[in-house]
Symmetry: C2
Subunit: 441 residues, 2 copies
């Protein structure tokens, strides 16, 4: 029997359990019910919600049959009538336990949980492999922008060299607001909170942790290696000032919080994977520079494909539900027709590069004594560290004895760049290092 | 046995036949050989080229074992040691015959042939379904930009509303050159030919036929219906003048050749699918407007995902090979592990909309007699056709008795817009209708 011949009513119903009824879970349940016929056709058989695990049974949920609700997620996960478990709870330890027990019970799992996947992909993948079921997590990176599918499938015949992306909407909103209005970080954060782009506790976003989870997932998939959250070097945007933004803008750059994953060759000639998140200056001519508001975009360089960019809403209930439901169709199709999606595949097993080994470029803004010979002295110090300068800009200051010096380096080892910055801070001629921001693109 | 446990040497070799040794075929063969180990790991078993069909056996092919070459494509397609056939010949009738015979012999097929898929997807899909094998064609639309995967899989849980894309690099190069340099169509085409962006006979590109094939494929996948090349309304760029570009630019628009696929409700209230290709004015604020040179980009609106955009090289040997090889990994995985990719699924079976029923907007540039009351008269005529005007701009001409009138309509039925343009051309007060270009975004 072939896919198009299937009469949805002839085949076994695919039973779905939804764990969690927040914005995403609610959206998933509603769309799955509203478009039940469409799903049946796309899967090749009917799909039905068998249960929804919630923490508060007393809360009314509009449009949801209350008989479906249960507060016993553990029991729901392994129930006989459930074939696919959708995990949209959030957190790490509790969903990890639930997802593992579901996989071990032979259920395929669709999760939107980036923190869970970034921390425990190895253990989850192993459980899925052993049980011969699918583990899908498209929604864990940039919601409906199909980053996972692109890395796992579309580029499966190519060699990915680099992935750089704006994968956190909150910080992009804040940086974009600072860029377009000249606002301070604090004011832009307050505005983001007021408009619902930032949570009451914005730490995970503004410190880059959310982006770091996504970087770990992208690096693992892109380089067929195991990169976990803890392997990602992570710097947030809390130190970015209105001055930094203004200086960047004047020089033709935009500051974005980038998640950068790349394959590098370290100083011993070995291949390693680098995954990092930090504020980054990118030229205004680069497509990522014009990604505004809370949008996300992922830029990929691959050997044969060249450069590709994917752009869209990277968060929100409906876009995340779109990704979850796309995965659900895949997992349910495999339950009906057989077959397995490409699973975790870390055959390349590249080590994670020491951050000091990563080649990068610095944009250094400092205030120096305005005396003859200062520039020559500083340039000699860069040279002694093996770092060459790409551009040097000197501006006179209000106080005539000071000069503002803005240096952009060529690419060099991160450790060497850090060393020169440390050295600069200790020099008598350097009054202040105003900002050090990495540069890309 | 699970995917990650597989030792590539334990499993059966997946045999590959390549039909055609042009730019794409050569690139596919080279990358498949160079990265054989990577492919084995990703597929879960070794992959090997068993034969390559060429038309000229006497030609030397660097890096290719001449024992693999054959001029008997028909025999190669159905050989016992071949599991997957890669068709990169081009044309329609001959590859159709080869692909059908391969599918019927139980080989999965990967094709980059947009014309073949746009003309014969139904027949090919039926043959694939009957044999229980895969038919992949990611490379048929915009090379390595994963449009097919995105429509077939990533958005499988969503309802697509509209797809609009720049899917032909040649015409985008020409229009971009006209926009940035003020060149005439003829000069820009000559430049494109000189640089290798346009073929010696550019008809298929500049008349929009290539884009129309892609529109048919995207509309079929996006709306789960059968849309063929002949169903696509198609207008090329050969009538676009430097004046049109300049006028557009002045008004804040860019002219792009768009392939637009959408679900519409016709005047009888029935849902239908529209697929069309025509030069289109888009506001400079729209992300598609900044797609320059020969790049492609596809913009998708979906119910839950919102707006997504995919950008990259839409043509060329290596990017096309990337898409072919990604498909090959998928087809080979299924040969090793079982399972089938989502096939053609036209369950929704929407009819193709009559072009006259399609809602669109016109930008009309005309020279009229500069007498009192002309504008009022013309506005009344639009109103009589049920068309309201969004903007009206009047410019004085060198000859004072003439005025240049630039009108932008609100959305209306294509047939009504065509009717008013026909009527305008016949009026004494209208000296000339300089240009009529549809407007989007």
């Amino acid at each position: 029997m072939t896919v198009t011949d299937l009469n949805p009513n002839d085949t076994k119903t695919v039973g779905v359990a939804i764990l969690g009824m927040g914005t995403v879970g609610t959206s998933v349940a509603q769309l799955l019910q509203e478009n039940a016929d469409e799903f049946a056709h796309r899967i090749g058989g009917p799909v039905e919600i068998k249960g929804i695990a919630v923490s508060d049974l007393s809360k009314t949920r509009e449009g949801i049959d209350s008989n479906l609700l249960t507060d016993d997620a553990r029991a729901l996960c392994t129930r006989d009538d459930v074939d696919v478990v959708v995990e949209v709870i959030g957190g790490i330890d509790y969903p990890r336990e639930l997802v593992l027990s579901a996989l071990k019970a032979g259920k395929s799992v669709v999760t939107a949980n980036k923190a869970l996947v970034a921390a425990h992909a190895d253990e989850l993948a192993e459980a899925a492999d052993e049980a011969g079921v699918d583990l899908y997590f498209e929604a864990a990176v940039a919601a409906a922008i199909p980053v996972v599918g692109m890395l796992r499938r579309s580029l499966a015949g190519d060699q990915i060299q680099r992935i750089s992306g704006i994968v956190n909407g909150t910080t992009n909103f804040i940086l974009d607001a600072m860029t377009s209005t000249g606002a301070s970080y604090e004011d832009a954060l307050a505005e983001a909170t007021r408009l619902g782009y930032a949570e009451a506790d914005p730490t995970a976003d503004v410190e880059g942790h959310d982006a770091a989870s996504k970087a770990a997932i992208m690096a693992s998939l892109g380089f067929h290696s195991r990169v976990k959250f803890d392997d990602v070097h992570c710097e947030g945007i809390t130190n970015i000032t209105a001055d930094d933004i203004a200086a960047a803008s004047k020089a033709g750059y935009t500051i974005k919080l980038l998640a950068i994953c790349e394959r590098i060759t370290d100083s011993e000639g070995k291949t390693a994977v680098s995954a990092r998140v930090h504020p980054t200056l990118i030229p205004n001519s680069h497509p990522l520079s014009s990604v505004s508001e809370s949008y996300n975009a992922i830029y990929v360089d691959a050997e044969a494909a060249g450069s590709l960019m994917f752009y869209g809403n990277g968060a929100g209930g409906a876009p995340t539900a779109s990704a979850v439901l796309g995965d659900l169709v895949g997992a349910a199709r495999n339950k009906v027709h057989g077959g397995l999606a490409p699973g975790e595949n870390t055959y390349a097993n590249y080590p994670v590069a020491d951050f000091g080994e990563v080649p990068t470029r610095y944009h250094i803004d400092m205030t120096v004594n305005d005396r003859t010979g200062v520039l020559a002295d500083l340039a000699a110090r860069f040279s002694a560290h093996g770092i060459s300068l790409r551009t040097v800009r000197q501006e006179e200051q209000e106080r005539h004895e000071n000069a503002r010096l803005i240096l952009v380096t060529h690419q060099a080892r991160e450790a060497d760049l850090q060393a020169i910055v440390d050295e600069l801070s200790g020099l008598d001629d350097v009054r202040e290092v105003n900002s050090v921001i990495r540069l890309d693109g």
